[in-house]
Symmetry: C2
Subunit: 331 residues, 2 copies
């Protein structure tokens, strides 16, 4: 334990001084599956926690092909030109297969990679989305402690990862293509309603008119949906990551959002809710992991699921029996 504390202090000191090598090593500890690495990581995170939080956390999503990397490059260059320090993280469910792609992320964002104000860390690999999300959420803490005041967390708009990202950011941006509605085939229902800003990208050349029309359509449509609990009115803008048009306006809007939600206490309140959410969400994840990996449960579950689907057993009765077996309350 004492050794862990000495080691952790070295890491914490390095991170607080903005040492990127230390930061990267600490993130690797977060991602490690070894128990002693996990323990060390927890100590480092808890040392960094009091120094974290002074930032804006931005979630960005959109289907492949919408131009996320180019957009993040353009927004990131704008942000860093104002003296801000940017960290770019990702939650990519596909990295569960590819085990992350450092090279991929860095070559996709060549300018940002070379920018000394910017830190890019690819998505962690993991067995479950919950695990990957957890690691990203903890990485946010370390990045903030290392002095990064702007965080972008990127994800692909096709699965449950948006819910995870939405639960760890202050501002959620959905990128769409000018062909309004067309690419929604690839976006999961419910994601549009999470957005604080919808940006129609690739509004350049021949696309400009189409992008404007698409933006107007979305603006009308979003008015017909229930208001956000922040009372922030969802904005719809056009932009071109390629030409840079609209990028400054988007950053301006994010700043406006922060001012608006901080004045009403919503910004801080949402962060507290998110911390509480992750506590209870993680409890649930751990309980489920233990449950589904319990050998006796796993065998019985297959049987019971078959019976439920064949309408021989009620799902509720089956669930009750399985939980009793798990907790040793029966048999």
């Amino acid at each position: 334990l004492r050794r862990t504390n000495i080691q952790a202090e070295e890491y914490i000191r390095g991170i607080l001084q903005g040492d990127r090598v230390r930061l990267s090593q600490a993130i690797t500890l977060i991602e490690s599956k070894q128990t002693q690495h996990q323990e060390l990581a927890h100590t480092i995170i808890e040392g960094c926690l009091p120094h974290s939080g002074n930032s804006v956390r931005i979630g960005i999503t959109g289907v492949p092909g919408v131009g996320k990397s180019t957009f993040i490059e353009a927004l990131g260059q704008n942000v860093s030109s104002q003296g801000r320090k940017l960290a770019v993280l990702a939650i990519d469910p596909s990295s569960q297969i590819s085990k992350g792609s450092i090279l991929g992320d860095k070559t996709r964002m060549a300018k940002l990679s070379a920018n000394p104000q910017v830190y890019i860390r690819p998505s962690a690999a993991g067995d479950s989305l919950g695990g990957v999300a957890r690691k990203t959420r903890e990485t946010v803490i370390l990045c903030e402690a290392a002095g990064f005041d702007t965080l972008i967390i990127e994800t692909v708009g096709v699965g449950q990862s948006e819910v995870a990202v939405h639960s760890m950011v202050d501002f959620f941006l959905l990128l769409l293509l000018p062909g309004a509605g067309d690419e929604l085939q690839g976006i999961k229902r419910g994601i549009v309603e999470m957005a604080d800003l919808v940006a129609v990208n690739k509004a350049d050349g021949d696309n400009q008119q189409r992008a404007k029309r698409a933006a107007a359509d979305y603006r009308n449509a979003l008015h017909l949906f229930p208001p956000k609990s922040s009372n922030w009115e969802v904005q719809v803008l056009t932009c071109s990551a390629l030409s840079g048009q609209g990028i400054a306006e988007i950053w301006h809007l994010i700043e406006e959002y922060c001012t608006f939600t901080k004045a009403k206490g919503f910004f801080q309140g949402q962060r507290q809710s998110q911390a509480r959410y992750w506590l209870h969400e993680t409890i649930q994840q751990f309980l489920q992991e233990q449950f589904y990996h319990h050998p006796q449960v796993a065998t019985l579950l297959n049987e019971r699921e078959t019976e439920v689907l064949a309408q021989r057993k009620s799902p509720f009765h089956a669930a009750e029996e399985l939980v009793k077996v798990f907790l040793g309350l029966e048999k």
Copy 2:
């Protein structure tokens, strides 16, 4: 056990013969908290399961004041005039406080209550939404076994109960008022996207034009949202539960939906997914109940939550510790 089986057989025989007194008594067993009632209820449900499923299950939601009771009366009379047998159930989170309101539901729907083809059962009371939803889902099984081929499950569009209802019905109907957008203040985000049909009610007298305009606006807006996994195109209609205008069209549309989704195998597939959903959802609910009621956990949780909110402890680390205490893996 033998006595339970004999008792259960009497109930099952009665229910299968359409005996409403037996049906009501069995539902009361489902709602009971006594262990022996619960066991008897499980046996009855499992006896009814093979005879259930031959129905259309319709979820209806909308804010208070939208005219749900009048609408259900109008739709219900239409349905029963075609020789169908209708059961009306409800999931009302407020019944957790009022412990259900039999009188309320029956006086709200005076005509349906007097209709011999129709069975109305008020919302079960319960400690948690999960518990209430569970009881309603099991009540559906018994009603179907008793020969009811049309089920309406009503809820109020203000909370998590829609998610529960959506997970136990084939078709989800959202009722809105003619003042497009106005009453959305009361509807939770995400509910609009669950609907298979949006019906603008109270389209009578002076409201007719406003209702038509509102319907057109919603129609346009819904086109800009991702398609449903059923590939069913969400419809928007106007109706007046008071004058009866549009009610026959709505029933026709529900029949069309069933034909459409049955032809593609979606209807049956969705019911299977729902059964699986309830199995795993209930496992989760039971695990959480056990966890949060664990005395040692409850004490420690308060402490840890305070530390998490004060940024002294990471939510993930706290969750891990708590689950270990719960499962007796530590201390």
